[in-house]
Amino acid sequence: MKKRMMSLLLSATVLMSSLAACSGGTPSNSKAGSEKASTNVEVKGSSEQKTTVSDTGKKYEGTIRWLNYKPEVADQMNEVAEAYTKETGIKVKIETAASNTYEPTLTARMDSSDAPSIFVVDGIKMLNTWKENCLDLSQTELNSWAQNDTYKMTGEGKVYGISYSLEAWGIIVNKGITDAYFKSPNKKTEYKSLDDLYKFDALKAVVEDMQSMKDELGIDGVFGSTSLKAGDDWRYQSHLMNQPVYWEWGGTDNIDLNGEIPEFSFKYAENYKNILDLYLNNSVTEKSLVGTKTVDDSMAEFALGKCVMIQNGDWAWNTIQNTDGKKIKDEDVCFIPISTGVDGEDKMGLNIGASQYMCVNSQLSKEDQDAAIAFLEWLFSSDTGKMLVSQKLQFVTPFSTMQDAEYTNPLFASENAIAASGKMPYIWAVTLIPSEKWKEDFGSSLLQYAQGQKEWEEVVKEAVSEWASERELANANAA
């Protein structure tokens, strides 16, 4: 009898512990794992928990989970989490979704028992999908600090999300090399500085001239690799699309970022082709091989001084700065706008917008929600938090509390200079692209075009017809 009891017990424990191990989740999730295991294995966990209860009476004991959208600041986000835990004793866990997989990760996490307390939506389409998970933030202090309503996701009188990062993109330039070009006696154009390159004709002339002088300038090509590898093609299938959609939809005053997905006829397809061809033909990499290149490859080329220009945004500074053997000098990094040959583009500046909005998960308990909000308020108003945001995360935020923050990213200075010279920003209209599917398919079309496997007319035709069908689905999903 005793023996039987023993084996029963044994098998039961084996089962319990294996189940506990399963629910622990990701390998990095060791803390959560031990929390759970403590319900089954009594000895160690419970004593730990008792101490946390006893030292403060009413402290929040759960874990604040932030599902991070930006893989490029994953390490810095963890520093933020550690700093908060150190100051308050409250656990913060950052989970980072890999590039281009945010929504799949969010879908999976929302269904799990440790759903994120803070998550991110990147535009109206995503908000429509996740609205019921977004807490109304209108009564929070955080909301009162955000100065401008264009930096919020709103609807039905509620504030669903607040942007934590205003981003700009354009063409990043290595000023050291362009200055050398402008001074060179061998140049064949009459342009004298980067300020002359706000029109496509000028940009094209200078780029092509520089490409022909690449040995003199010590570069492999003017533009970094056009990274069209699947998953790394977002600079083209989504960001570069901002130019044609901005012009087609009639500019800032006519585009409603919180509205329905508009129709799209790719009216400015030729302009898009202008700039894409310029990238492809004057590059470090052969056109036929762009399918092997990643964004990191191109950023490394830029940081190592192998190319002069690269299309990307201010978030890329982290990557440039941390490249091994970086050659480019910090003060040489600056922006010029993307031009495509549209009338009036010389008055335009960079593409600027709030790309991502923080949301608090409304499906959690009040306690969890309050803890998450308190954490966010700490992050954007306390001295430690502000230092971390400006120095480590390098987010430009819309919060009044952050106005005295100091930044080290030279691209921010360049953005300010361009804005100060009176150039109009392009708003971030690509958030209205109907679906990820459209972007992916357009990206693979672009790759086939670059490889010479698809005619441009075909690329345009497919983009337009798929837009129509995806738009219908997206708008139906919103209704």
């Binding site: 098998s11 929302m110 036929s288 399918g291 990820e436 599917k437 693979s444 790759l447 496997q453």
Partner: protein
């Protein structure tokens, strides 16, 4: 009687954990999946019943599911034949007595121990290296490159594994039969066709089953090697299902329906194959 009774008790105690785990991690999800394939949902709690409309979409998804089905079948047919023929040939050679057989068996088996994602990236580098040399293009240039890439990768990975199974089968054949046939004047070709192949029927069944279901379920090798490029033309079924489920807003139900169709398909194919090859096995 007492003994038998005790045995039954232990049977329950020791299989119960396994049964429970099977029930929790296979049976329940499968039934839930069946239900979810009939709904439109984002999170499981918010599922809304929509009948068979998801399935209707699946069978009209020419550029997605059906294209992936055709591609997967093409890969599967060629890969299954190639892998099994080569594995069997190697097994024949390595079941002979000569120096170094153990070393060769180990070497051939080793690729099987490397994960599919890593293999995918390694082979991508290798194949791209060759293609860039020869044609100045990479594997994303043409679907045929990806197609043969997947087959080469899969063969390289699985041949050693199937070879081990075939070796076990060949070694189980009694030496008496072979000796007797040799005395009766059978050539080694006749020995192969009349004795060895019929007698390793069990191994053939197992190997065909493994390679067939494996190629149909292939995901990580596909993801790492081609990622579906160019333009989804090298996307296999598992990847298409994943992408439908996770990468398309509002398509979770359809992805689930695809998964159900996929399960039924793989199950039916596997059973059909088992049924056919079993018939040819020699019952000793």
């Amino acid at each position: 009687m007492q003994k038998l009774y005790a045995k039954k008790k232990y049977f329950i105690i020791f299989t119960l954990p396994c049964l429970l785990a099977y029930f929790i991690s296979f049976f329940i999800p499968f039934v839930m999946g069946l239900y979810l394939s009939l709904t439109k949902f984002k999170t499981i709690r918010g599922a809304r019943f929509v009948g068979l409309s998801n399935y209707k979409f699946v069978f009209r998804d020419f550029k997605g599911f059906l294209q992936a089905l055709v591609f997967t079948s093409k890969v599967s047919i060629v890969a299954v034949i190639l892998v099994n023929v080569i594995a069997f040939a190697l097994a024949l050679i390595l079941s002979k007595q000569f120096r170094g057989t153990n070393l060769f068996r180990t070497l051939f088996f080793m690729p099987n121990l490397i994960g599919g994602i890593i293999l995918g990236y390694i082979w991508q580098l290798l194949l791209n290296g060759i293609l860039i040399r020869l044609y100045g293009v990479d594997i994303t240039y043409d679907a045929r490159f990806g197609y043969w890439g997947i087959i080469i990768l899969y063969s390289w990975q699985k041949i050693g594994y199937l070879m081990i199974i075939y070796i076990a089968g060949i070694q189980a054949i009694s030496g008496d039969i072979l000796e007797a046939s040799a005395i009766d004047g059978a050539s080694s070709w006749q020995q192969l066709w009349r004795i060895i192949i019929p007698n390793v029927g069990g191994s053939i069944t197992v190997c065909l089953f493994l390679s067939l279901t494996d190629t149909f379920k292939m995901y990580d090798q596909n993801l790492a090697l081609t990622g579906g490029a160019p333009a989804n033309q090298t996307k296999m079924l598992a990847m298409d299902i994943y992408d439908t489920y996770y990468n398309r807003v509002g398509f979770a139900g359809i992805g689930q329906a695809k998964a159900v169709v996929f399960t039924v398909l793989v199950f039916a194919l596997g059973m059909l194959q088992l049924f056919i090859t079993r018939k040819f096995e020699v019952k000793s």
